[in-house]
């Protein structure tokens, strides 16, 4: 039977990367000098799984490497070795190395064997450091011992006519699920088998324990069979039977005494040989990379590996809900078809009930399907402990990272695209926000700075905050910088908010010296652009000397939107519900017209521009052209408010977003399209774009 192992590779890679993340966060949580067995166990298990899988799927370079890590972890777990910073660092380095190896294999690229050899060396140096209990040495000796055995066995093999085997199971052998008949059947496959059962040990019927084995056997196996093949059959029950094997040779001369061969050390399984090779390679590895290794790697990469197929791991409860929901839907469907079959008017109530059920189930089904795409934000957050650990030691700062709301769920696409902007923000906080320990003490703050990464849901949005208790933004400095860079006029009047917003302008950098940690000021505007492309926005609040908070607001999902449909003439548009503040009827007193700058209306204390939808989208069938005839929908996008002048408000509904760009082209003020219940197409408004459009 041949099975294409490549089909399991994708899953293997996914779980291995997950395992590496577990190892990484576990290692970061380890305290020097401490032996936290649970934590180490968890790390060990992850390494162990990667080793097992990579061995099975033929990635020997990976399993060899993991073996060394595992040995080190095993000693820590047993308490034979203390957790030292250097060991943790070596292991963290290996995690990176392993990640690179797996990535390379997955992408069918060559593995950087130089890098692997270096990391392996670091690990081995670490291993030899605890030399008093060096397991490497003991393994080596064990290996050489075992290796000599098959050689010895083959030497005996000539002229074997057959074997006499005496086999007396201990009473409890059956209770391990081992069946003598099974073993005899296997023996019979090796040669002609004759067996004689000995019932002498069987007690009389009154004392008989049916679950115990009281019979013993004398077996005779004809033919030139290798001793190890016979022993392998009995290897599982070694300790649960008396077993003796005697060679029948054509030359009478060397009948070996039975006891000698039953010695447990001579038992060799084919399986064990494989793992022996494994050990040998490890033992060998103290030498610089063996020359055969790159060849092996090439072989691995030559195999067609599944390219990232955009798969997703889903909690089984979510699938169960989905299945449940489909079941309900099927029931409703059958009920409806029953009603429809011989429809009479008195069944109208039944039909209505059925339809409302159908509606509810469809909505629930939709929600559950959307839910499948939702991943906990911990997928993004989990990389930060390592980042903060590495960066803070590089910067010489003391920083504690707190993660809050890691289980907050967000759409997979958002998760993937959020990672880079967040890294940038956290780096900024570490580099520019948190002060050096001595500065903090001088400022009367705790020596260790805190960075909080928090996620939570608010309305239809997910909010992610990066909070630090560092030095905060200096408004005067920001302003001076912006003037110096020519980003604003010298006499520009800016609110606090607008001043902070300056850091999002292209080409702005506040650090006097550029560091390699947070780049050179090209970042923040890119961050903002990325967030905006996800349909979100970013804000910063800061207090000098106290710290800064950067908040990112993002829609929960990019595929579905809660929308308010509005009508302008014959056209329908969808306004994202999250951007609507209120809808009002206005009267002429509220309206101001400014020559050349359009219309505004006063809403309480604010003057907001009016955007006439029928003008912007050239809808000639618009019913309301006088402001008093229609409605004004007050919307907010990226901190700017305006009033959309429309004919009427229709219903609220969830709409599935279809890309306009993919099917037509980009249109300013429109973020996409959707298909309504009656089959007609409605355009989804892009509020910030619309505001921009209105201002032109």
């Amino acid at each position: 039977m041949s099975i294409d192992m490549a089909q399991f590779h994708q899953v293997f890679f996914e779980e291995s990367f997950e395992g590496l993340d577990t190892m990484e966060s576990g290692l970061l949580d380890l305290n020097t000098g401490d032996v936290d067995v649970d934590e180490i166990n968890m790390i060990f298990r992850a390494a162990h799984s990667i080793k097992g899988g990579s061995g099975t799927f033929g990635f020997t370079a990976v399993s060899d490497f993991t073996h060394v890590m595992e040995t080190l972890l095993d000693e820590m777990r047993d308490g034979r070795r203390l957790v030292t910073q250097s060991a943790v660092d070596a292991l963290l380095g290996s995690v990176d190395c392993l990640r690179a190896m797996l990535t390379a294999i997955q992408d069918e690229q060559a593995v950087d064997t130089q890098n692997v050899a270096e990391h392996k060396k670091v690990l081995e140096v670490e291993l030899t450091r605890g030399a008093d209990s060096s397991p490497v040495a003991s393994q080596e000796s064990a290996t050489s011992e075992q290796v000599s055995d098959p050689v010895a066995i083959t030497a005996h093999e000539a002229n074997v006519e057959g074997w006499n085997i005496s086999f007396s199971p201990h009473p409890n052998m059956l209770k391990t699920g081992n069946d003598p008949v099974r073993m005899f059947r296997e023996l019979a496959e090796l040669g002609e088998l004759t067996s004689t059962a000995d019932f002498l040990g069987v007690p009389d019927i009154h004392n008989l324990e049916p679950e115990e084995c009281a019979i013993s056997w004398k077996l005779h196996l004809k033919g030139n069979t290798a001793e190890q093949d016979i022993e392998e059959i009995f290897s599982w029950v070694e300790d649960e039977c008396d077993f003796a094997i005697q060679k029948i040779q054509s030359t009478v001369q060397s009948v070996s005494p039975v006891a000698e061969t039953t010695d447990s050390t001579t038992t060799v399984q084919p399986d064990e040989q494989t793992s022996k090779e494994d050990k040998e390679t490890t033992a060998e590895a103290t030498k610089p990379v063996a020359s055969k290794k790159p060849v092996k790697d090439k072989k691995e990469t030559a195999k067609p590996a599944n390219k990232s197929s955009g798969s997703i791991r889903v909690d089984t409860t979510k699938i169960d809900t989905l299945i449940n929901m489909v079941g309900e839907l099927v029931i409703t469907q059958s009920m409806l078809s029953l009603v429809g079959e011989h429809f009479e008017i008195n069944k109208l109530d039944q039909l209505k009930t059925g339809l409302s059920q159908l509606e509810r189930h469809t909505r629930e089904l939709q929600e559950s399907v959307m839910n499948i795409r939702m991943l906990p934000i911990s997928f993004v957050f989990s990389r930060f402990p390592r980042l903060v650990h590495d960066l803070s030691s590089k910067l010489g700062k003391k920083i504690e990272l707190k993660l809050v709301g890691e289980n907050t769920e967000v759409d997979k696409t958002v998760v993937e695209l959020l990672s880079d902007p967040l890294v940038h923000l956290v780096r900024n906080s570490l580099d520019h926000g948190i002060e050096m320990p001595e500065d903090r003490i001088a400022a009367g703050k705790p020596e260790t700075g805190t960075v909080i990464l928090e996620a939570y849901h608010r309305g239809g949005n997910i909010v992610i905050e990066v909070v630090d208790d560092g030095k905060g933004l200096n408004k005067d400095k920001l302003r001076a910088k912006a003037i110096e860079k020519g980003l604003i006029d010298e006499d520009a009047i800016l609110t606090d908010k607008q001043t902070y917003e300056l850091i999002f302008m292209p080409g702005f950098s506040t650090a006097e010296k550029l560091t390699d940690v947070s780049g050179r000021g090209v970042g923040m505007d890119v961050v903002r652009r990325n967030i905006q492309s996800l349909g979100g926005n970013i804000e910063i609040i800061s207090e000098l000397g106290k710290g800064s908070t950067i908040s990112i607001h993002l829609p929960l999902t990019l595929a579905i939107l809660d929308g308010q449909s509005i009508s302008v003439g014959d056209e329908r548009y969808i306004v994202p519900l999250g951007s609507i503040i209120e809808s009002i009827n206005i009267n002429e007193d509220m309206v101001n017209r400014i020559a050349g700058k359009g219309e505004t209306f006063r809403l309480r204390d604010e003057f907001l521009p009016i955007v006439r939808m029928h003008d912007i989208f050239h809808v000639e069938s618009a019913k309301a052209t006088k402001l008093t005839d229609g409605l004004v929908v007050v919307v907010e996008g990226q901190g700017v408010k305006c009033g959309l002048f429309v004919d009427d408000l229709l219903g609220q509904q969830q709409v599935v977003i279809k890309s306009l760009e993919a099917n037509y082209r980009r249109v300013e003020g429109i973020s996409g399209a959707t298909i309504l219940g009656d089959g007609s197409v409605a355009l989804i408004l892009d509020i910030p774009g619309l505001v921009r459009l209105a201002n032109q």
């Binding site: 039977m1 041949s2 099975i3 192992m5 089909q7 399991f8 590779h9 899953v11 293997f12 996914e14 779980e15 968890m42 060990f44 298990r45 162990h48 799984s49 080793k51 097992g52 899988g53 061995g55 099975t56 799927f57 399993s63 059956l174 209770k175 391990t176 699920g177 081992n178 069946d179 099974r182 059947r185 296997e186 679950e211 290897s235 599982w236 300790d239 649960e240 447990s264 399984q269 399986d271 064990e272 494989t274 793992s275 022996k276 050990k279």
Partner: protein, 120 residues
């Protein structure tokens, strides 16, 4: 049909075992750890259990120990999948009541051979 329970916390190994056995005509149920496996074993009778050793929640050795206390699994073949070629894990497994072991890395053929061996 012969019913086998495949227990492993690693999805790729579990799938590989399950796929191989299903391909050979066995009926296979998967479990992700010892606790999951024990629950499944209680609600359905399996003719053979193949379990990984190193697992969260309940490891393979504890699982075997628990299974052996159930009347239905007194004589059932219970196999461990283990990377530890050293005797200590095997010994612990045997003491818990394991029938035998399959040493990782193994290929589908080796797995099938061993399964055939215990359930005929």
């Amino acid at each position: 049909m012969t019913n086998i329970l495949a227990v492993d916390d690693s999805a790729s190994m579990r799938q590989m075992v399950s796929f191989t056995l299903k391909g050979a005509g066995y009926s296979v149920v998967e479990a992700v750890d010892g606790v999951d496996a024990l629950n499944k074993a209680k609600s359905e009778k399996f003719d053979c259990v193949v379990t990984d050793v190193n697992m969260p929640n309940k490891d393979g050795i504890a699982l075997i120990k628990d299974l052996r206390t159930l009347p239905d699994y007194k004589f059932t073949p219970l196999l461990m999948l283990t990377t530890e070629s050293g005797m200590d894990k095997k010994q612990q497994g045997k003491e818990a009541g394991a029938t035998g072991w399959i040493v990782k890395p193994f290929n589908p053929d080796q797995l099938l051979k061993t399964i055939k061996k215990v359930i005929g």
